[in-house]
């Protein structure tokens, strides 16, 4: 069974679903963040795989690069927020942070 496009796609969807599960199930906000990273990686795999198998050019790789950029930006800001929350509330439990709930 040679490796084809759908192998990569399945791999990426597994990664994606794992990420989603992480996002939903983790109480720790950093854990949620890790889930998001997994989802992004899954996207990256998809893009590069499509780029190779369908588009036959480098556009997919470019998008993968942009995903890195976005991931980096996102993680930096998110972690800054997490640290801020931790400084203010001494916890990073996502369910403890509900000040804006009316």
């Amino acid at each position: 069974m040679t490796v084809e496009l759908h192998h990569y796609l399945i791999l990426s969807s597994i990664l994606f679903v794992l990420g989603i599960i992480g996002i939903i199930s983790r109480k720790n906000s950093i854990g949620i963040l890790m889930g998001i990273e997994l989802v992004m990686n899954a996207c990256g795999i998809n893009f590069v795989a499509f780029s190779k198998y369908i588009a036959s050019d480098f556009s997919g790789q470019i998008f993968a690069l942009f995903i890195f950029v976005i991931a980096a930006a996102e993680v930096v800001v998110a972690l800054a927020i997490v640290l801020r929350i931790y400084q203010n509330k001494a916890t990073i439990d996502i369910e403890e942070v509900k000040d804006l709930k009316c």
């Binding site: 069974m1 040679t2 490796v3 084809e4 496009l5 759908h6 192998h7 796609l9 399945i10 791999l11 969807s13 990664l15 679903v17 794992l18 990420g19 989603i20 599960i21 992480g22 939903i24 199930s25 983790r26 109480k27 720790n28 950093i30 854990g31 963040l33 890790m34 889930g35 990273e37 997994l38 990686n41 990256g44 795999i45 590069v48 198998y53 369908i54 036959s56 556009s59 790789q61 470019i62 993968a64 690069l65 890195f68 950029v69 976005i70 991931a71 980096a72 930006a73 996102e74 993680v75 930096v76 800001v77 972690l79 800054a80 927020i81 997490v82 640290l83 801020r84 990073i92 439990d93």
Partner: protein, 164 residues
């Protein structure tokens, strides 16, 4: 099963197994560490897909940057001198069920769709220069936007994280 295929399965395993640990391990530090394996595996997948530059970037950014940051955050946001990184027990059954359901649909979708693949049988190309050209011509605007985004994130993070 060619060596390419076997390498794929190796890297897939290297990707998926740490990812599972990441999601389900109660210790957040271990979860973060296993993310390392997952990222590395994805880098390997990229290499298999002929995207060497992307692979190196994956390692550089995810392993050298994001992962380190996450570790930092983990350590700074918990009592770092104790070994208590245990996450409180939480019901993970329902999310997992949902996830498996979703996965099932996805796999069904992937396998049923006929992918119009046109695989050029050339070896890995020198991608760097091509990517650079694309970034500065066709994707110039997104590229610039991305740099603005990064700058904004940088400043925002500094302002957020700076103690008053």
């Amino acid at each position: 099963m060619t060596s390419y295929d076997s390498l794929f399965y190796v890297f897939a395993a290297v990707t998926i197994i740490p990812a599972i640990v990441t999601v389900f391990h109660p210790n957040i530090l271990y979860a973060a560490l296993s993310l390392f394996g997952s990222f590395f595996g994805v880098a390997g997948i990229y290499v298999l897909l002929g995207a060497d530059f992307i692979a190196a970037t994956q390692v550089l950014i995810y392993v050298g940057g994001i992962l380190v940051l996450i570790l930092f955050a983990v350590m700074l946001s918990k009592n770092i001198y104790g070994m208590t990184f245990q996450d409180e027990k939480k019901k993970k059954i329902l999310p997992t069920l949902f996830g498996i359901l979703l996965l099932g649909f996805l796999i069904k979708l992937i396998t049923t769709v006929h992918w119009n693949t046109t695989l050029s049988e050339e070896g890995p190309l020198p991608t760097t220069a091509a990517l650079g050209n694309l970034l500065l011509t066709e994707y110039l605007l997104p590229f610039e936007l991305a740099s603005v985004l990064l700058l904004a994130a940088l400043i925002g993070a500094i302002i957020l994280a700076r103690s008053k």
